[in-house]
């Protein structure tokens, strides 16, 4: 079914349904899952990503609906006036536990390093919640991993795949790239590119969205995982991507003084969880040994740049600038601000020129 977000209620009448014995309001087009989420019912899901069309694949979000013979998937059921829904019951809990036991039995690993990606702990968390690590359905696994894919960004460990199709759907619906699809059914189900090739040879743009939506760690962020041994707790800092002008919000993951990875900010106003290959993966230039860590001045004798203290470099620059002003006047100094540095840099550059020299000889790099 298609979600119809924001469709106004007919005739302005207030629509209500009964949720766990409580009368609650909803807007037309909302699913039972969305209504329940608003009321913090914490219905478990594995195939659900709020940015994607509901899929109804994992069946964990089933709820009891009065008048329906069997429990229904709340993510694909549109709320209707007068509905009576129970999100929790002994029977539902048993059903969900069995489902989790079966899902876990498909995989080689039930616990993966959180560095795999944003949603990578979802399955493990639900196994704990439903005490479902019994191993009683141990048997066949599904999915064949692709260690042959030598790309440096996306780990393709399909032996931990549960066929929730989130990666396929995020690639199609969120990115519009359609680089991956599902081949075969049942235990033979396999996420693959066209002709089963490498991601590099497909329509994949390496935006990393598949990694971030994967709930089991079948897909993993190889750049973050390379830092899994860096000591310390992972902390995140909200900032904005350093590349183009879209202004995507990111959560930079750090351990100690090291950036260990980047997570897309699902609530970022410009990107709503999307990123591209640069924002997702091109962060480690920050720690590159080529970074300048000291001022440099041109040596009078050798004519070459050599490291200097701040005092010496600031005095040298100020001295040379004062000499130019003295010899050629204040209008002979020009300032070029950066489109890559923050406002404060550009503001201070224009302040230097305008408040210091009284001219308007200031520009930024937007003309080329």
């Amino acid at each position: 079914m298609m979600k119809r977000n924001g469709t106004p209620a007919t005739n302005g009448a207030r629509l209500t349904m009964t949720l766990d014995g409580e009368k609650v309001a909803f807007t037309r087009g909302e699913t039972v899952y969305e209504v329940a989420e608003r009321h913090r019912k914490e219905i478990p899901t594995l195939c659900y990503d709020p940015r994607l069309e509901p899929f109804g694949g994992c069946r964990l979000c089933v709820v009891e609906l009065e008048g329906a013979r069997n429990p229904v998937a709340s993510c694909t059921t549109e709320a209707q006036p007068g509905m009576v829904v129970r999100t929790r019951s002994a029977a539902l809990e048993v059903q969900r536990r069995i489902l989790m036991e079966m899902v876990a039995s498909e995989n080689r690993d039930t616990d993966v390093d959180p560095m795999h990606g944003y949603a990578s702990q979802e399955m493990a968390d639900l196994l704990d919640r439903y005490d479902a690590r019994s191993g009683r359905f141990e048997g066949a696994h599904s999915g064949t991993s692709r260690p042959d894919d030598d790309n440096p960004f996306i780990k393709r460990d399909y032996e931990n795949c549960i066929s929730c199709y989130r990666c396929v759907r995020v690639c199609a619906e969120q990115e519009g790239d359609y680089a991956i699809s599902v081949m075969n059914r049942g235990f033979d189900t396999q996420i693959t590119t066209e002709f089963g090739g490498l991601l590099k040879d497909s329509a994949c743009t390496f935006c990393g969205q598949c990694i971030q939506t994967c709930p089991t760690g079948a897909l993993g962020d190889l750049k973050a995982l390379a830092n899994r041994e860096v000591p310390g707790e992972t902390e995140t800092t909200r900032t904005i991507c350093p590349y183009c002008g879209v202004g995507c919000s990111v959560d930079v993951m750090t351990r100690g003084e090291k950036i260990v990875g980047v997570l897309p900010a699902m609530d970022g106003p410009a990107n709503e969880g999307s990123l591209c290959v640069k924002g997702q993966f091109a962060f480690d230039f920050v720690h590159h040994p080529d970074r300048l860590s000291t001022p440099f001045v041109r040596d009078d004798d050798s004519g070459k740049l050599r490291p200097a203290s701040w005092d010496e470099a600031l005095d040298r620059a100020a001295g040379k600038l004062r000499k130019v002003v003295k010899e050629h006047g204040r209008r002979s100094v020009y300032g070029i601000a950066s489109g890559r540095a923050p406002h404060e840099a550009a503001y201070m550059m224009q302040r230097f020129i305008r408040a210091g020299l009284g001219t308007n000889h200031i520009d930024n790099c937007s003309r080329a």
Binding site: K278, V286, L321, Y334, Y347, M348
Partner: protein, 543 residues
Amino acid sequence: MSNPLADMDKPDVIFCIGTNMTECHPVAATRLKKALARGAKMIVADPRKIGLAEIADVHLPIRVGSDVSLLLAMAHVIAREGLVNEEFVGARTAHGEDFLKHVEQYTPEWAAEICECDPADIEKAALLYGGADRGAIYYTVGITEHICGVDNVQSLCNLALMTGNLGREGTGVNPMRGQNNIQGAGDAGALPNNYPGFQKVTVPAHQEKFREAYGREVDLEIGMTKVTALDLCGDGIHAMIIDGENTLVTDPDRHHCEHALKSLDCLVVIDIFMTETAKVADVVFPATAWAETDGVCTNTERRVQRLRAAVPPPGEAKPDWWILSQLAQRMGWDGFDFGSAREVFNELCALSPIYAGLDWDRIDQGEYQWPVPEEGHPGTPRLHEERFENGRGIFKMLEYRDPEETISDEYPMWLTTGRRLPQYHTRTQTGRSDGIDYLLSEETLEVHPDDLARLGLEDGGWAEMSNPRGCLHVKVRATGKSPKGTVFASFAFEDVPVNVLTGGGYDPVTQTAALKACPVALKPVGQPPALGQVGSGIELGRS
């Protein structure tokens, strides 16, 4: 952008011109793809069969620099077919009648001779955009980096004005800004004609305001642009302070630029790496980088957002604002005693009408899009909703002009330049991030297979590409992505410094460089130059 990014999945008809959005603004492009999935139509005008063109309903492979002719003809068709929004034109614009008369002469057949497209496709595009309830235009520097950049933008405005596609959801004229804070650099006043907040330096009230704020007399006339300043190096301009720009590599006509910077008595560079530009400086200051710097940036939709430091900088690197304020103090100037980015930003807000309702704390969650004229104002996601800044939207009577340099027997191919998805600008950052080179490790010149055969070049072989400004060697790739007669290269790789060739003039109003259209000659060469040598193209290119 006149409209917010969130509007990008709402138009009925999308018109992208001079924007390779899937590579240069990939996340914004995902919103367009959602609109297409919902049933929206898309027109793409671009010489190359870029990613957007692959998914467009109409692709107009215009010859580089011919945009005005196409847009005049589209206006002609819209007028002829009665698709003008009379109500909007009457209520909110000026010179509408003159404009409709003006475009009578510009038929699709006339334009087709110039822009080298099928007149039927021009007709189709015009009917689509003209017939849209919500038509939205998106452009990038493929529009502005021409000698007629301003004309191009105004041509787009004419189309939006005549169809009333402004000030409403899913419409607008929307430039996609290319750098994370290029909008903010302008907002903050790093422009020769504007104080912070786009207050013109020639207006006496503004002069008075800044005279008082900065406690000194201020020049009453506008300053020179960077382009003019580079022209006058050693002859009027004798010192430059350059922050975070690899001027030598990114600006047109590299030899000219190199000569200019070397003519200075004093060049001060602030950067995070020892760039080609830093290498010719007298003093280089190490700046803190992204994720090491607290600050503010403004995105392409005018959204003011916080940058936060997550890790300490290497060694003694310092924030740019600190470096410049310390330098000012060493110059002996008062009033530069700032203690934090917060203090600097709050001073900017106090002096800028578009930020008047903002301060450091208020922008914490990034929910404001300027203008925010006073505290409590919700911000302005969509411009021009009720009225235009200057009252009425004014139609401009434009005419097509050829690029300053056009192809000839000697230089028979058009070179156009741009970016590619994995690498950003001159690779100072992406080239130092692990794995990016796996996706793109070298530059190749994109050439149409027919041209390849005609010029005696080989797919995967090497070519010498030259014009009177210089020459370089580049590996060649056969692709139908390039139209016949036009080749493409990015400016990302230092061993293919395409800006030794570019430089055919500037827009007379903005002095934006014509980086998108440049005649060149191509011939096969047997041996590639030694790879990995910094600036090898330059040495080879001294002609």
